[in-house]
Symmetry: C2
C-alpha cells in the first residue's frame, strides 16, 4: 500500500475547489450565469476543464453552489438587520432598505440572483432562498404582531408579498438591458428605495408614515 490521502492533499484540494468556486462566482458577477462557461471558469482558475468535474458533479451543481454561497451571504445580512434594534416595523424597514441598496450597488450579481433565467437546478435554489427570505420576514412580522407594532395578519402570505414587491421593483433597474441601452434615464435609486419600503410597510401596517 503506497498512496494515502494526506492532510496536505486534502487542503490543497479544498483550496482548488474554492478557487474554482471563486472564479465561477466572478464570472457570474461579471456577466450573469448565462455567459459563465465551464471552459472559462477552468482557464480562469488555471485548471483543465476535466478537473472541474473532479470537484463538482456537473455544471449545474457548480453554479447551484455559487448561487447558494452568494445568496446565503445576503440572507445572513437580512437576518442580521432583522435581529437589530427597534420594534419589528423598524427592523423590517431597515432590512428592506439595506437589501435594496446592496442590490443596486452590485447590479449584475443581484440580477443573476433575482431574475436571470437559469437552469432548473439553479432555479430550484432560487425558489428555496425566496422561501428563506420570506420566512425571515414572516418571523419578524409575527413578532411585530405579538408586540403590537403590527396588526394581526396572515404573516405567511404578507411576507411573500414583501419578497415579491421588492424583487419586482428591482428587476427593472437591475436588468442588463436597462443599464446598457443608454437611453433610459438613470433611476433615482434613493427615491425608488423609499417608495418600495414605504409600500411594503403600509402593506404590513396599514399606516402611512
Amino acid at each position: 500500500m503506497a498512496y494515502r490521502e494526506t492532510e496536505k492533499m486534502r487542503q490543497r484540494k479544498a483550496l482548488a475547489r474554492q478557487r474554482i468556486l471563486d472564479c465561477a462566482q466572478l464570472r457570474v458577477t461579471e456577466g450573469g450565469f448565462r455567459n459563465a462557461q465551464i471552459s472559462q471558469v477552468a482557464s480562469q482558475a488555471e485548471v483543465a476543464t476535466g478537473t472541474i468535474y473532479r470537484h463538482f458533479e456537473s455544471k449545474e451543481e457548480l453554479f447551484a453552489e455559487v448561487f447558494r454561497a452568494a445568496t446565503e451571504r445576503e440572507v445572513g445580512r437580512v437576518a442580521k438587520d432583522l435581529a437589530g434594534d427597534g420594534d419589528a416595523v423598524e427592523r423590517l424597514a431597515q432590512a428592506l432598505r439595506h437589501f435594496a441598496r446592496r442590490a443596486l450597488r452590485a447590479p449584475t450579481m443581484a440580477w443573476a440572483l433575482i431574475a436571470e433565467p437559469v437552469d432548473p437546478r439553479v432555479e430550484a435554489e432560487r425558489l428555496r432562498y425566496r422561501r428563506a427570505y420570506a420566512e425571515l420576514f414572516e418571523a419578524a412580522i409575527r413578532e411585530g404582531v405579538r408586540e403590537g407594532s403590527l396588526p394581526a395578519q396572515e404573516a405567511r402570505h404578507s411576507s411573500t408579498c414583501l419578497v415579491g414587491a421588492i424583487a419586482e421593483s428591482l428587476v427593472g433597474p437591475l436588468s442588463p438591458a436597462q443599464s446598457t441601452d443608454g437611453k433610459t434615464p438613470p433611476t433615482d435609486y434613493e427615491s425608488l428605495v423609499n417608495t418600495i419600503v414605504g409600500f411594503c410597510l403600509q402593506g404590513l401596517t396599514g399606516t402611512r408614515r
Copy 2:
C-alpha cells in the same frame, strides 16, 4: 405565368398558422415552454417540422407569439376590471382578485407566463408585459389619487410593487413541484387571494379595511 397566390390559399395558410399557434399553446398549457418542442408542435398540428418555419422565423419567435397572445388576453381582462364600476380602489381590488383566481385555475399556463425559465426572446416579452400590467395599475392608482380614494404616492413604483407582490405570491402555489409533490397540503386559495389583495390595498391606501 401559372401560379398566383389566391384568396383561398391565403386563408388556408392563415388557418395553418393559427393551428400551429394553437397547438403550441396547448403544449405550453400542458407542460410549460420547456417541453414544447418544435417536432411535437408539428406532429400535433399535423404538419412537417419544416412547415413551421414557413410560418415562423424561429422557435423563439413562435413561442414569443404564443406568449404574447396568452398574455394579451390576460392584460385585456385586467384592463376591463380596471375600467369597471366603483372607485379606483374597488376596481384595483377586483382586478387583483380576478387575476389571482384565474391564475390558480389554470396553473400550468399561469406558471409558464409568470415564472417558468424561458429563452431570452420570450423573457423579453415577459418583461414587456409585466410593464404593461404595471402601467395599467399605475393609471388606476393615479385616478385614485385624483379622485381622493388613494393618498398621493409614486404611482410608478407602487404599481410595480403590486405586480411583484401578486406574482410572487402565486409562484409558490403554481410551481409544478408544488402540484406534483403530493405532500404539500393544498393551499386555501380563497384565503391566499384575500391576503394578497388585502396586502396590496393596504400598501396603496395605508388603510386596513
